[in-house]
């Protein structure tokens, strides 16, 4: 029997028992859909994280105190700025608070920093200017608003020179940043920048710095700069030769690598969990096919009596199982892509169509059909025609 005839036979069979076919397929649909959707979400997260990290600034080194220590100071910032190949250095002292303009308020991150911050973190100014070196030195109460904050406060280009309050203190708006875009766990545009001295004086009351961002002149100098800064800071912090660093220096590549490996593991884990439901769906197909073989024992006997060979029967039942799993798989792919597109839209990382995932899902559902269809089909093919014909 030609494959085409077998497929035609399988379809006419599925038509006569639509509800059963639909319910059987549902298992595979749910399985494939959840695999496709979760892998899609995983990929979305990964590309979102990488693009966000790439947007954080090129040639970026970030220095953080190791947990528990508060070893970094503004003097360290000045000293690091003098290291060879260092293009710019910005301290970051972060807190959070309420920003108000007129009757609008928003809660956001407040970053105390200096004039180099925009360059180090790769922000572009949309209106006005960034913090100035003089303003930072003199601890002027000036503020640069991130795009999201400006939006939340309904402030536009004409807001430059006006006043907003941060935690009740009046600040002059000197600039508004261009939106960087990208969302996820943290919106890079949902923050305001004010001179680091102002944060220390009015908001945090500490001399230490949370993070130092270093922009290195070129990518080739990253390792050298990292080594030089390490030597310098160890010297400044008077660490003994045997002592471990009380700070850590991360470069962008490391961060990217770590983040994508975490996201990759997450996607794999999610996909693994989802594939369990696919196996359950496959067992559903096997179950129905076994029932079907039993129910259709007489039909099998008739077919054998009119000339079907064992392999014709085997092929017929196998193709039926395959048709179920493949149709279920295709519907599952459509549903899964829909769900991941929806999640992508809600979470804001867009929708990445991955032909690999679709191909793998199709192969997987075919495999489910074969693996869980072979046994019932063999049972059918092995039936003895005499007893099959007597079956009532």
């Amino acid at each position: 029997m030609s494959p085409l005839e077998l497929i035609r036979l399988a379809f006419s069979r599925l038509r006569t028992s639509r509800l059963r076919a639909a319910l059987t397929m549902l298992g595979v649909i749910i399985g494939v859909a959840s695999v496709v959707a979760l892998v899609g979400v995983g990929q979305g997260t990964t590309s979102n994280i990488t693009s966000r990290l790439a947007g954080l600034g090129t040639n970026l080194l970030t220095i953080n105190p190791t947990s528990g220590s508060s070893s970094l100071t503004l003097d360290d910032v000045t000293a690091v700025a003098a290291v060879a190949n260092v293009a710019a250095v910005a301290p970051e002292l972060q807190t959070s608070g309420t920003v108000a303009a007129g009757d609008k308020t928003t809660d956001t991150s407040i970053i105390g920093t200096n004039a180099s911050y925009a360059m180090v973190r790769a922000y572009k100014v949309w209106q006005g200017t960034f913090l100035t070196t003089v303003g930072v030195e003199q601890k002027l109460r000036t503020v640069v608003l991130g795009a999201t904050v400006a939006d939340d406060l309904s402030l536009g280009a004409d807001a430059i020179g006006t006043e907003v309050t941060i935690e009740g203190l009046p600040f002059e708006v000197v600039g508004i940043l261009q939106a960087k875009g990208g969302t996820g766990f943290q919106d890079p545009d949902d923050q305001v920048m004010i001179p680091v001295g102002v944060v220390q004086k009015y908001l945090v009351g500490t001399g230490s710095i949370r993070t130092i961002g270093v922009s290195v002149a070129s990518v080739d100098e990253m390792d050298a700069a990292k080594a030089d800064i390490t030597t310098l800071l160890r010297q400044r912090h008077e660490l003994a030769a045997t002592a471990t660093n009380d700070f850590s220096i991360l470069d962008q590549a490391q961060l990217l690598e770590t983040a994508s490996s975490i996201a990759g593991t997450l996607a794999l884990l999610l996909g693994g969990i989802a594939s369990i439901s696919l196996i359950v769906g496959g067992i559903g197909i096997m179950n129905i096919m076994l029932v079907s073989v039993r129910e259709r024992t007489r039909e099998i006997g008739i077919r054998k009596a009119v000339g079907a060979r064992s392999r014709d029967i085997l092929a017929q039942f196998l193709i039926e199982a395959l048709t179920l799993s493949l149709i279920g798989g295709l519907i599952g792919i459509v549903v899964g892509l829909g769900v991941s597109a929806l999640i992508g839209r809600v979470a804001g990382w867009g929708f990445a169509f991955s032909p690999t995932v679709v191909a793998v899902a199709v192969l997987f559902s075919l495999a489910v059909g074969v693996v869980f269809g072979v046994w019932p089909a063999r049972q059918a093919a092995r039936l003895d025609p005499i007893s099959a014909l007597r079956w009532e």
Partner: protein, 224 residues
């Protein structure tokens, strides 16, 4: 003399039933020549069904040799046997054995499906067979929408659509009222007149009179 289409040579079929050997067929020899209309008659338990299964290649002899259309069935694999069966024999059963929820036309095309006949030819041949048996207006009907007599005629159409050398009919009138039964017997006689070999298996002596030769089975042996 023409070579026999059926040649049973001292065939026995023994079943083991709870350690006891039951001789359903015992040392049976029989020859049927092309064009014959033979009735195998016997009460229930005489070995009719076993005879039918052996003749139809659904079962194999325990002893003896069976040549169907010149081929010894003992030497064939299951699949080769299925092939021989589908080319040589058309079955008609007491309970029709039509595929449920399947139109008369599709029922009749089924044997051709396994002979790799093209779809167009399948439909043409099946339609012709059904029309010949007076069911030209019932092509799309499913078995549940047909009377017993009509169902048996669909089964007959399915049996002849492959142009088999021989029809093997097992109590073809057993489930029919007498009018429909006569109808089916008339069709068998007509097919035989057109040259088809027919082997009829029945317990009904009256039905058997339609045949040109009667073989009486009793306790697994041919009784004169």
């Amino acid at each position: 003399m023409v070579a026999p289409i059926i040649d049973l040579d001292r065939v026995s079929r023994t079943y083991a039933m709870g350690g006891l050997a039951v001789h359903a067929l015992n040392d049976v020899s029989l020859q049927v020549r092309p064009g014959e209309f033979v009735a195998i008659v016997g009460p229930s338990g005489s070995g009719k069904s076993t005879m039918m299964n052996i003749l139809g290649c659904l079962d194999r002899p325990s002893a003896g040799r069976y040549h169907l259309a010149g081929t010894s069935v003992a030497d064939l694999s299951d699949d080769a046997l299925a092939h021989l069966r589908s080319r040589t024999i058309g079955f008609v059963f007491q309970s029709y054995n039509l595929l449920p929820r399947t139109s008369a036309l599709d029922n009749v095309t089924t044997p051709l499906l396994y002979q790799n006949v093209s779809r167009r030819e399948r439909v043409a041949r099946a339609t012709a067979a059904l029309e010949r048996l007076g069911l030209g207006d019932r092509l799309a009907h499913e078995p549940s929408e047909l009377s017993g007599g009509q169902q048996q005629r669909v089964a007959l159409a399915r049996a002849i659509v492959t142009h088999p050398a021989m029809l093997l009919a097992d109590e073809p009138t057993g489930n029919l009222d007498s009018a429909a039964g006569r109808d089916v017997m008339a069709l068998l006689t007509e097919l035989n007149a057109a040259g088809r070999t027919i082997v009829l298996i029945t317990h009904d002596a009256e039905v058997a009179t339609a045949a040109s030769r009667q073989i009486h089975l009793r306790d697994g042996r041919i009784a004169a």
